[in-house]
């Protein structure tokens, strides 16, 4: 009886501790972000105030209204940037996932000579710093005439994301026991069918996290985009952020507003994709 009660108290304490920990962690994560959101809504005079204004005195959507109005009234071609960002990020993510699934599957399921070396080689392509790549890449792109196009940036982002989509997906395929697929094949499935019906669903949480990751990297990438894009044909949102800087001035409020416009779709997408992460839980059949 006593032990039971002690146990219950202990559990309640643990639970409270957990909740508090969770709350603090989430607060630390959210606060800088919320500061951005708040900054986009407050008049500039309150953002950088001293003494600080902790409680907003007036909130308005002026910065957003300005963003969508014409050039000269504080407008920037946000719709163009948005479109470019969306096309480029989504396409490059889908391609990187497809290439990554093919590669990851090959590494997880086949034995061949030089496997580790090839694998390592793929990963090492990612160690090349963007700065060593940017000018030669620009050179190659200029010769091919794909500067300032969606295609050019998509290609670059696929290459950027492929090493780790391969890696991640490889890791998850490894978690799926080989016997499962083999069993399916014995049951009369082709390898292709076995892949889609048995292995793919089980590796889905890995593929989903690789997908989110690839998408967010492409969505936020700046260094390559600033070198390979030039006009509204292909400029993406992160490059567009700099539209709010002039030689000597910066419109921090406007920049925050654009940042919010950038974050919302990414947040929504992540929220939706969570579902597939969850489905990784159903893999009761997976053995360690």
């Amino acid at each position: 009886m006593d032990e039971n009660q002690a146990n219950r108290i202990k559990r309640a304490l643990l639970k409270t501790g957990h909740l508090i920990g969770l709350f603090i962690a989430m607060a630390i994560i959210c606060l800088p972000g919320l500061w951005i959101v708040l900054s986009s809504l407050r008049p500039t005079v309150e953002i950088m105030a001293k003494p600080p204004v902790w409680i907003p005195q007036s909130l308005s959507f002026d910065a957003y209204i300005a963003m969508f109005s014409g050039v000269g009234q504080g407008g920037i071609p946000v719709l163009d940037y948005f479109r470019n960002s969306l096309i480029i990020s989504v396409t490059s993510t889908v391609i990187a996932l497809a290439v990554g699934m093919a590669g990851g599957y090959a590494f997880a399921r086949y034995q061949f000579r030089g496997k580790s070396a090839i694998f390592l080689g793929f990963m090492l392509t990612r160690t090349v710093p963007g700065i060593a790549l940017s000018l030669p890449l620009f050179f190659v792109y200029a010769k091919l005439g794909i500067i300032d196009t969606h295609f050019g940036l998509i290609l670059a982002y696929v290459a950027l994301n492929v090493p780790f989509t391969i890696w991640l997906i490889d890791g998850f395929f490894r978690q799926v026991p080989r016997d499962l697929a083999e069993a399916a094949q014995i049951d009369g499935c082709t390898r292709w069918q076995a892949f889609w019906q048995v292995e793919f669903p089980l590796a889905r949480s890995g593929i989903a996290s690789a997908g989110i990751f690839a998408f967010l990297i492409s969505w936020n990438e700046f260094a390559l985009a600033s070198q390979l894009t030039r006009s509204t044909n292909s400029k993406t949102l992160p490059v567009g952020l700099l539209d709010y800087t002039a030689e000597f001035t910066i419109d921090w409020r406007g920049m925050c507003a654009l940042a919010v416009v950038m974050i919302i779709p990414a947040l929504t997408l992540t929220f939706i994709v969570q579902k597939h992460l969850v489905s990784g839980l159903t893999s009761g059949a997976v053995k360690g």
Binding site: V45, I76, S226, Q227, T232, L242, T245, E247, F248, T249
Partner: protein, 438 residues
């Protein structure tokens, strides 16, 4: 009036160039021509581009904007283009501080446009746009020189006046010399609540500020032979100004990491007494929605150094025509159009400073019933009179990058002023030698 002017210029052109393709009314007619342009982007610069449509209508040509980026990104892009040989465009935004880096890619506009049109610009701006005898760009109404912004109430306060007089032995008035700025900054400073002044502390910004202070102290950055000469006595005096303010805690402790955005936000927050800053902030500082000091902002010309010369580091934006352009006349016409009187009025009406004499008169006249704007313009006009660009060396930016960490080291006390300047001069010399300029 416009017609008349165009008529006159056409007449002059006919006399000067005599029968060439240019002997016609500006902007001319270029049906079927397409001009590819790389323009600087950003709020402050883009409203002008709405005028491109008018030029297209007037000339029958088309403009294709192939790039729009901020200043530094554009610089990177142009360098990349030079490097891989892809200067396939005709018109590019340019800046007097960056222009010396691109030797040879831009055409001489003086040969493409009527002399009369060029004479209508402020002489100093044309001088700063001329590299090796070539007029590489036409200045737009985005001329930048600094003036001293200050909080008026501080100088009107009787208690301040008496106390200041007691301590320093002269009257408290808006500063006219950098020595006064030092005294006043130390007098007003009350860290961490309030600071006397502040300065840009990194990159080209601190080097530029040091450069103008050096000149105001009577020194020179590069001597007549092109050797770095800033580690002189005047150089030490100039850098000590920054060092002493830092040590006296009269400037925010973070000042060596400040760039222009931090400075502007800082003054607008009402925690800085005196702020040497650019004309682009004038409207911002006096806007109650953006700035705590709105209504309390005074502006005077940049103070003088010990040599009696005012500081006057300046720069301006402009447009250039590439040497590789297939239709330079059309490109030059576009550049002229974007910097002509109407264009400059459009830009200068929003705050930036013009680079044409006639437009200066016009903006001052426009401001006659706005006392703040009038004060701003008078201060900046005085500043403009003593303004000069950076040394026109292709290595200027590189030298800046080598010198500024040394300046910071002196300010933060890692090195003495003389040590830091000597080290910087040595690096600058090596850069110039590497580049074959020495």
């Amino acid at each position: 009036m416009k017609n008349l002017l165009a008529g006159v210029s056409a007449g002059v052109v006919a006399l000067v160039v005599g029968g060439s393709a240019l002997a016609q009314d500006m902007p001319g007619s270029f049906t079927g021509v397409t001009i590819d342009a790389k323009l600087i982007g950003g709020q402050q610069y883009e409203s002008l581009y709405s005028r491109i449509g008018e030029w297209e209508q007037a000339t029958g040509a088309k403009v294709n904007v192939i790039s729009k980026k901020n200043h530094f990104e554009l610089d990177k892009e142009i360098k990349s283009d030079i490097a891989v040989g892809t200067i396939t465009w005709c018109v590019g935004s340019n800046h007097s501080s960056f222009a010396p880096q691109y030797p040879g890619i831009y055409a001489d506009l003086a040969a493409l446009l009527p002399k009369e049109e060029i004479d209508a610009f402020v002489d100093a701006n044309i001088g700063a746009s001329t590299m090796d005898g070539k007029l590489v760009m036409l200045p737009r109404a985005q001329f930048d020189v600094s003036a001293m912004y200050y909080q008026k109430s501080l100088f009107a306060d009787e208690a301040n006046k008496t106390k200041f007089k007691e301590k320093y032995g002269y009257d408290l008035t808006p500063p006219d010399t950098w020595q006064q700025v030092s005294d006043q900054a130390a007098f007003f400073a009350n860290p961490p609540e309030f600071y006397g002044t502040q300065y840009a502390g990194k990159e080209e910004a601190i080097n530029g500020r040091f450069y103008e202070m050096l000149r105001a102290e009577g020194g020179e950055y590069l001597d007549a032979d092109g050797n770095p000469a800033f580690n002189s006595e005047a150089g030490v005096r100039a850098l000590d100004w920054f060092v002493n303010l830092y040590n006296a805690k009269a400037v925010p402790a973070g000042t060596t990491n400040y760039l222009w955005d931090d400075l502007g936000q800082g003054f607008a927050s009402g925690t800085i007494a005196l702020n040497l800053d650019w004309p682009g902030w004038a409207g911002f500082f006096n806007d109650p929605g953006a700035s705590k000091v709105a209504g309390n902002v005074g502006v005077v010309a940049p103070p003088k150094g010990s040599s009696g010369v005012r500081t006057g580091w300046s720069g301006h934006h402009g447009f250039s025509v590439t040497e590789s352009c297939a239709n330079k006349e059309a490109a030059a016409s576009l550049v002229w159009f974007l910097t002509n009187e109407d264009s400059q009025k459009l830009e200068a009406g929003a705050g930036p400073l013009p680079t044409r004499d006639a437009v200066w008169e016009w903006v001052i006249e426009q401001a006659s019933d706005d006392p703040y704007r009038k004060e701003v313009l008078e201060a900046f006009q005085q500043a403009a009179a003593g303004a000069y660009p950076v040394p026109q060396s292709p290595s200027w930016i590189e030298i800046s990058n080598a010198v500024y960490p040394e300046l910071q080291a002196a300010i933060l006390g890692d090195k003495t002023t003389q040590e830091a300047l000597d080290a910087a001069a040595e690096k600058a010399k090596a850069i110039l030698e590497d580049a074959g300029e020495l």
